[in-house]
């Protein structure tokens, strides 16, 4: 083949290769009419800054949105649910636009009113990828607004979840508490200086003023900022579980009461600065640790996958109906690429159901009229009609999902080692306080109270809490920077404790985007390859499409007498020769039909000459990842797919790994449960809804996603697929967490012993406390930050 080495023509709108169907307008070339149209529209309205802000920012418009896709937005009930505010002239709606990615998007979407005068305004929340549009409903309908968005390439994602949405309110209380604590801390510190620096005792009045202002300033810290510690301590005591917040709450209370006593009785200045300082630092650690990723959701259930409405056929008309109102006996019209939301019987049309989402099977399954279709499948190809037999809430998938939800109370009780450690610590401190009390009871009654309170103040395990929250916060940040997002700090520890990794295959170890095709058999000439490609091009079967893509193309070849046998293969005359490609049963009817991998056989002139073997493309560095893991952990593979790659996987994982094929979501869940009952700590790594139940059941569920904008099932962690090979480093970092916390804790004990030396004597001066507490806190912060960053650096994260 002779081909000129040509520079690839890139679409001016979306930046994709224009290929052969290029459209050129002036200096600009476009890959499709969709892109061209958007360009025209923006040009007309003077919005071409869209293209100058970023290079080729557009969203490819090759796949058009079906004309009536959003007809359900005319339904009053659905509209009421979606609209957030409405009066006679203004309607506000918030829509999720997953395509948003750059400042050009921001520019265009905030200038919607220039595209259509009837839109009053539009504002974007970039991290949430959410647009708020205000429009006048008397002039333009919601549907028209949504269709305008579609026409410029931003198709809103509207799911069943939007139907029963309660606006998630982001709690900012912690930040306010932090702010108040910081304010009080700084001022108390400032007002304490004069006394530390030796304010002349002659100025007794002034000293008293300073002291009482300090007392006043400490009130908001105690009653507002420290609330979190008190409520958590109270909760833990009621559950008969002593967590780390309990001794901290006691220490805060003791410090405060002793300080008040000192100020009121005029015996001392109290420890207000130490108290507010420690509350401030602990709150800061908490804020750092609980930083969430706005754009991610760790709690998705099936509702976010299902459409908000489907078309129900009534008297020959299709009526968009909200999903919860679907009843058994209704007939649904399902279009190409739509998700089947309920269990039903196929009543008309040729169904080609892609169950990869539910079962992990890689290839669409064919269904004939009268067969059962389960919810969660995606129709590919022409329209089908479906007779509903179960309501949405009773479908197989939904039931599976709703069964055995983990008890919320159980989740509440977290079992971090920090709590255990703090408990021992508390006992020791109480013991020391007791001994000091006994000693002074014998020697000097007046100093008992002083000594005991001083011990309790000095020895609160705040250093432990500080070191764990700051280390966790920093590790979460490092992991997030590497596109590994954890639900909470507890997940770090869970990952460190895992001893068994369970992998899903399709979509996790392999990429869903690429397929490897290998040819086995008699060598094909270039011409023959072209002929097979031309034949494959005639069919829409996913394997044919992949094959046509893989083989060299030729536009000269024509196919005659083309015939597609459903579920078997295709045949026809190409260039005067009869070629058939298809399944084994189709190509070699005599052979036994059991086959376990995805193979397309080629028959040329009634003779089987070879076969194409389809294999999913394994992600980069999967072998080194598995090598690392198998030397340290038990491993398992659960695949919903056929056993075609059994051999390869066996080789990859070694002999000690359980590899199971044809696993249903239920099988996967049961497998995890069995392992659990054997005491294994399991991390499940999966991607689709088929793994969702297993992800939930395991100790750590890690969802793999090609792109963070995609939807991931509910999980403890979300990992971007291209970072999978970094998993060993992530695990090591999580394991280092405990060591770092322990190291800084031991350091803090050294400080504590110094402090205790003064405390047991009953003469802990506020100055010593004021120096010791910040010094220990700051050095702990430095150690936690420094060492976790150092570990991350050595792991090349």
């Amino acid at each position: 083949m002779q081909s000129k080495s040509q520079e690839k023509l890139i679409c001016s709108h979306c930046g994709e290769d224009c290929g052969s169907d290029m459209i050129s307008v002036g200096d600009n070339v476009f890959c499709c009419y969709g892109c061209r149209m958007v360009f025209g529209l923006l040009n007309e309205n003077g919005l071409c800054d869209y293209y100058t802000l970023n290079k080729m920012p557009g969203i490819n418009r090759r796949a058009d949105v079906r004309k009536d896709k959003f007809s359900f937005l005319n339904d009053e009930k659905i509209k009421n649910r979606l609209v957030s505010f409405r009066n006679g002239t203004e309607t506000h709606i918030q829509l999720y636009l997953p395509q948003i990615h750059c400042s050009s998007c921001l520019y265009l979407l905030e200038n919607l009113r220039r595209l259509d005068k009837r839109i009053i305004s539009s504002t974007l929340n970039f991290p949430r990828k959410e647009i708020t549009i205000i429009f006048n409903e008397n002039e333009i309908s919601l549907r028209a607004v949504v269709e305008l968005l579609c026409s410029i390439g931003y198709e809103p994602y509207i799911s069943l979840n939007d139907m029963n949405r309660e606006k998630p309110t982001v709690s900012r209380k912690l930040i306010y508490q932090l702010g108040v604590a910081g304010f009080c801390f700084a001022n108390i510190m400032l007002l304490s200086f004069p006394e530390y620096l030796g304010l002349a005792s002659a100025e007794k009045n002034l000293r008293n003023v300073f002291r009482s202002i300090n007392l006043l300033l400490s009130l908001p810290v105690l009653f507002y900022s420290a609330q979190a510690f008190f409520s958590s301590a109270w909760k833990s005591l009621r559950n008969k579980f002593l967590n780390i917040d309990a001794p901290i709450a006691i220490a805060i209370l003791v410090t405060f009461s002793r300080s008040v006593y000192e100020v009121v009785s005029g015996t001392g200045s109290g420890y207000f600065d130490s108290m507010s300082g420690i509350v401030f630092l602990m709150l800061a650690g908490r804020v750092l640790q609980e930083k969430t990723y706005q754009q991610l959701s760790f709690d998705r259930d099936f509702n976010s996958y299902f459409p908000i409405a489907v078309n129900v056929l009534k008297n020959g008309l299709d009526v968009p109906t909200p999903l919860p109102e679907i009843k058994p006996g209704d007939t649904l019209l399902i279009h190409n690429d739509e998700l089947i939301p309920v269990d039903g019987i196929l009543s008309r049309g040729k169904a080609f159901i892609d169950y990869s989402f539910v079962t992990g099977e890689s290839l669409p399954v064919e269904k004939e009229t009268g067969e059962m279709l389960y919810a969660g499948g995606k129709q590919t190809g022409s329209n089908i009609e479906l007779l509903v037999i179960h309501e949405v809430s009773h479908s197989y998938l939904t039931k599976l999902w709703n069964r055995e939800k983990k008890d919320d109370a159980d989740v509440e009780k977290n079992n971090s080692f920090v709590h255990l450690l703090s408990r021992y610590f508390t006992y020791i401190v109480l013991l020391i306080a007791g001994i000091a009390a006994c000693y002074w009871w014998v020697n000097d009654h007046s100093r008992i109270l002083n000594a005991v309170t001083a011990v309790l103040i000095i020895a609160c395990p705040c250093a432990l809490l500080l070191s764990s929250s700051f280390t966790n916060g920093n590790i979460l940040r490092i992991l997030g920077r590497n596109h590994f997002y954890l639900r909470s700090a507890q997940t770090i520890e869970d990952i460190a404790n895992v001893n068994h990794f369970v992998f899903d295959k399709t979509g996790t170890l392999t990429s869903t985007k690429r397929m490897d095709i290998v040819y086995e058999g008699d060598a094909l000439t270039f011409k023959q390859q072209q002929c097979i490609g031309a034949l494959a091009k005639q069919s829409n079967h996913p394997l044919s499409v992949a094959l046509a893509d893989y083989l060299p193309k030729s536009s000269q070849l024509t196919v005659s007498e083309f015939k597609e046998t459903h579920g078997m293969g295709i045949q026809g005359f190409v260039d005067g020769r009869w070629i058939a490609i298809g399944s084994k049963k189709f190509a070699v009817p005599a052979a036994d039909t059991a086959e376990d991998s995805t193979i397309v056989y080629v028959v040329l002139d009634h003779e089987m000459i070879g076969k194409f073997i389809f294999r999913y493309h394994y992600r980069e560095d999967v072998d080194s990842l598995i090598d690392w893991l198998k030397s340290k952990y038990r491993l398992s593979v659960l695949s919903g797919d056929n056993a075609g790659e059994g051999k390869y996987l066996k080789k990859l994982f070694g002999p000690n790994t359980g590899i199971y094929f044809h696993q249903t979501p239920e099988n996967k869940m049961n497998y995890i449960k069995t392992l659990n009952s054997h005491g294994d700590k399991i991390a499940m790594i999966g991607d689709g809804l088929n793994d969702a139940v297993a992800l939930r059941e395991s100790d750590v569920g890690i969802a793999i996603t090609e792109d963070c904008n995609n939807f991931t099932p509910a999980s403890d962690a979300i990992l971007e697929a291209k970072q999978l090979h970094l998993l060993p480093a992530f695990i090591q970092l999580c394991r280092a967490n405990k060591k770092i916390v322990m190291a800084s804790f031991i350091l803090s004990i050294v400080y504590n012993i110094t402090g205790l030396y003064f405390a047991v004597q009953g003469n802990l001066s506020p100055l010593v406390a004021a120096i010791l507490m910040p010094a220990s806190s700051i050095s702990i912060l430095l150690i936690t930050f420094g060492s976790s960053n150092l570990v991350a650096k050595s792991l090349r994260l």
């Binding site: 800054d49 400042s103 921001l106 520019y107 905030e110 200038n111 974007l124 929340n125 970039f126 991290p127 949430r128 982001v170 900012r172 930040i175 306010y176 702010g179 108040v180 304010f183 700084a186 001022n187 400032l190 007002l191 100025e203 009045n205 002034l206 003023v209 202002i213 706005q294």
Partner: protein, 71 residues
Amino acid sequence: MSVIILLLIASLSVSLIFLGAFIWSIKDKQYDDEFSPPMRILFDDASEAAKKTNDEMLLFKTEQEFNYEKF
């Protein structure tokens, strides 16, 4: 003596104002979206600049026309 008390009240109220400003900024969702606001400023400028150049060109044009008529 009393001067220090006065100063004290002044400094406390100043810091209270800052605390108020901080809480206000959080309540106002200033930190929710750190990407869009700085971009928005640029957009407005850009379109105004474009308008300006258009106006200037218009001005230039009329001047030219004026000159043309003159000759």
